[in-house]
């Protein structure tokens, strides 16, 4: 349904070029829940913002790629058509709802505007639909809340409003960028529960970006792992956690403690995440990788099938403890 190929985005800043996203391929299927995990700066947000051409240009520049959605390339589409897609067929939810909600408009006005822009709803339809949406996302006293301004709501309630707006035009895809990162854990649990519930009700496909490997474990069908502006691994959720094939994914899973297990030693990934100021040569994980060998420093590993619906970008075959011959 959404197919992204060879997407690359750079930022041309006074201090030089930031190679934020370096050739990314992935697809999103009908009704699927795709988790995107990676540490801060790994290029998660820039990837999704590039798809909707929401990055500031300049300094941003999409240097290559295509993003086929419903038969059209989002990256080539007329701006006026793209505007209809944003908030229409593709809804989005950001980490901080305060930056995407208009502080001087009531909740009801904001949902209504979106409805009127993307559908032929009348003011009365919009009012009724807004009310339904707020009820759908579990906002109590929905009628009252329509008259509230964003600052009058708690963080959790604001995020529910964002979800309601994202759902307003019955989108095919929702892109959620760290939607629960700023929330307390009991409020995060509420939001996750709503999303779980809505998915079974509406069947919308979701791309959920997070740095928390716990959050997507219980939500996603498939997971993409990003590092240094690239996808390093992609698999069905069960396989990714049970048999990670990339040294970074495996290292990350071993470095995080678990609530359901007694404390054991945490293994560490030594070193720091890569600087994106240099054009990447070889594998960007190589300086931190315990398996790195000479080829890793010169040749960039591409995503290769390593199992059923399982792809990894690494020259080393973890299972057989030897270099991969062919990629």
């Amino acid at each position: 349904m959404l197919e992204v190929s060879n997407l690359a985005t750079e930022f041309h800043t006074p201090d030089g070029v930031v190679h934020a996203v370096n050739g990314i391929d992935f697809e999103l299927r009908q009704g699927e829940f795709l988790g995107v995990v990676g540490e801060s700066g790994s290029g998660k947000s820039v990837t999704m913002m590039s798809l909707l051409r929401l990055i500031p240009m300049p300094p941003g520049k999409i240097v290559s790629g295509s993003a086929m959605f419903d038969g059209d390339d989002l990256l080539e589409m007329e701006t006026s058509d793209l505007r209809k897609v944003r908030g229409g067929k593709i809804g989005f939810i950001f980490q901080d709802p305060m930056t995407s909600l208009n502080p001087v408009l009531t909740v009801g006005k904001q949902i209504g505007e979106s409805l009127k822009l993307h559908t032929d709803a009348t003011t009365r339809d919009a009012k009724r639909r807004s009310l339904e949406l707020l009820e759908l996302v579990g906002i109590p006293d929905a009628e009252q809340r329509l008259k509230s301004y964003p600052h009058e709501l708690s963080g959790g309630m604001r995020q529910r409003v964002m979800i309601a707006i994202a759902l307003a035009c019955s989108p095919k895809v929702i892109i959620a960028d760290e939607p629960t990162t700023a929330l307390d854990v009991t409020i995060q649990a509420q939001i996750i529960e709503i999303v779980r519930d809505l998915r079974t009700k509406l069947g919308t496909a979701v791309i959920w970006i997070t740095h928390d490997l716990g959050v997507v474990a219980g939500l996603a069908d498939r997971v993409i792992v990003m590092y240094g502006g690239r996808i390093v691994e992609e698999a069905r959720v069960a396989d990714l956690y049970a048999t990670p094939q990339h040294p970074y994914t495996r290292g990350l899973l071993r470095s995080i403690p678990r609530l359901d297990q007694k404390g054991s030693d945490l293994q560490t990934i030594e070193g720091q995440p890569p600087s994106l100021r240099k054009a990447p040569v070889g594998c960007s994980f190589a300086p931190r990788c315990e398996f790195a060998f000479d080829r890793c420093l010169t040749d960039t590993p591409q995503l290769t099938t390593v199992g059923f619906e399982h792809r990894s970008a690494c020259w080393w075959d973890l299972d057989n403890e030897r270099p991969r011959d062919e990629l």
Binding site: E39, S40, S154, G156, M157, D184, V185, T186, I187, Q188, A189, Q190, I192, E193, H211, D212, L213, G214, V215, A217, G218, V237, A238, Y241, A242, G251, L252, L253, S255, I256, P257, R258, L259, D260, Q261, K262, G263, S264, D265, L266, Q267, T268, I269, E270, Q272, P273
Partner: protein, 353 residues
């Protein structure tokens, strides 16, 4: 009900119980907090009249044993940082007592307090804003040494190199500035500064919250090594319940200025008693799809009330799935339900009762 009796009556778990239970008789209390409160006045109007108070910490009691790590968990605004600051006398207590090595801190002032300072230190969440950007790493670490007249320039120089080594940095780093370092390295600088004066007790206030996932384990492992090497006692404040399970010996759970439960890590995570602790545990996602698929989730309704207007009775009653009438009027007693497992809830029975 003491721990020995517990062990006798529940034979099949006796082995576990003896391992879990802190033998309070043997262990030396380093920090003791009793009935501690910190209320921040809310001022209004041109005459700055007090119209209310934020009850950031509202009557908490616990001990920290020498050499242990006490985890302090809770959601934002529950009063964790304020608790740490009041113990270290960076904020003045409104009421109650806090002792360190038997000394009443709330009555210790001026020069006497200054002399105690080296023994009690703090590591902050944001290594960026807690390090002076215009000072070199060497002068940042040397500052406490100078302030407390520890050694001459030569011995301070040596001490700085030693400290840098202890936190996994190199002497080469001494003349650089904070902005030249990554977040994890800056946190190491903050840690070096905190241990420079050989403290006994360190409050670690969300020391990994601002760090990348792959860097968190590095810093936590460092804190654990230093604890072993230097015999440190930690109050480890965090909203990350999984990391606290890893690092702590005992854990206190805070909600709206109160501690609602305190127990050994194993008891707190495997046998939580307070409805809030139970909900909190069930809300934390586990990085394992198999476990997640079969987990029972308990979703709390509503938001955390404001600490300037906490509900009467049990502070948790507005969100508690079990709340009864008396929960809305009577403050539940903070009590040991057996083996050093403390809970404040009307509905929790003593262990093996």
């Amino acid at each position: 009900m003491n721990s020995e009796q517990t062990a006798e009556t529940t034979v099949d778990t006796a082995a576990d119980t003896t391992v879990d239970t802190v033998n309070q008789g043997d262990r030396e209390v380093l920090v003791s907090v009793s009935g501690l409160k910190k209320h921040f006045p809310i001022m209004k109007g041109v005459f700055r009249r007090q119209v209310g108070a934020v009850r950031a910490v509202d009557g908490i009691s616990f001990d920290i044993y020498k050499g242990e790590t006490l985890g302090l968990v809770g959601e934002s605004g529950s009063g964790k940082s304020t608790t740490g600051k009041v113990i270290l006398q960076l904020e003045q207590a409104t009421e109650g007592s806090a002792t360190f090595d038997g000394i009443e801190l709330t009555e210790t002032k001026g020069e006497e307090l200054r002399k105690l300072r080296p023994r009690m230190q703090m590591i902050f969440q944001d290594p960026h804003s807690s390090l002076n950007p215009r000072m070199t790493v060497a002068s940042i670490i040397a500052e406490p040494l100078r302030e407390h007249g520890k050694g001459n320039a030569e011995s301070q120089r040596k001490r700085i190199d030693e400290l840098l080594g202890q936190v996994g940095l190199s002497p080469m780093h001494a003349n650089r500035y904070p902005h030249e370092f990554s977040g994890g390295q800056r946190q190491r600088i903050g840690i070096a500064r905190a241990i420079a004066l050989n403290p006994d007790f360190v409050v670690c206030d969300e020391p990994i919250a601002a760090l990348d996932v792959s860097i968190q384990a590095q810093v936590v492992n460092l804190l654990e090594e230093l604890q072993d090497d230097l015999g440190l006692t930690y109050l480890f404040i965090s909203h990350d319940l999984s990391m606290v399970r890893h690092i702590a010996d005992r854990v206190a759970v805070m909600y709206l200025g109160r501690i609602v439960e305190l127990a050994t890590v194993d008891n707190l995570y495997d046998d939580p008693q307070h409805p809030y602790t139970q909900a909190l545990n069930s809300a934390v996602p586990v990085p394992d799809p198999v476990v997640e698929a079969s987990r029972r989730r308990q979703i709390l309704e509503g938001d955390i009330p404001s600490p300037s207007n906490p509900p009467p009775g049990c502070v948790f009653n507005t969100r508690c799935p079990l709340a009864e009438d008396r929960c809305r009027t009577e403050v539940p007693e903070w009590r040991d339900i057996g083996g050093g497992h403390y809970v404040a809830c009307h509905l929790v029975d003593d262990k093996s009762a």
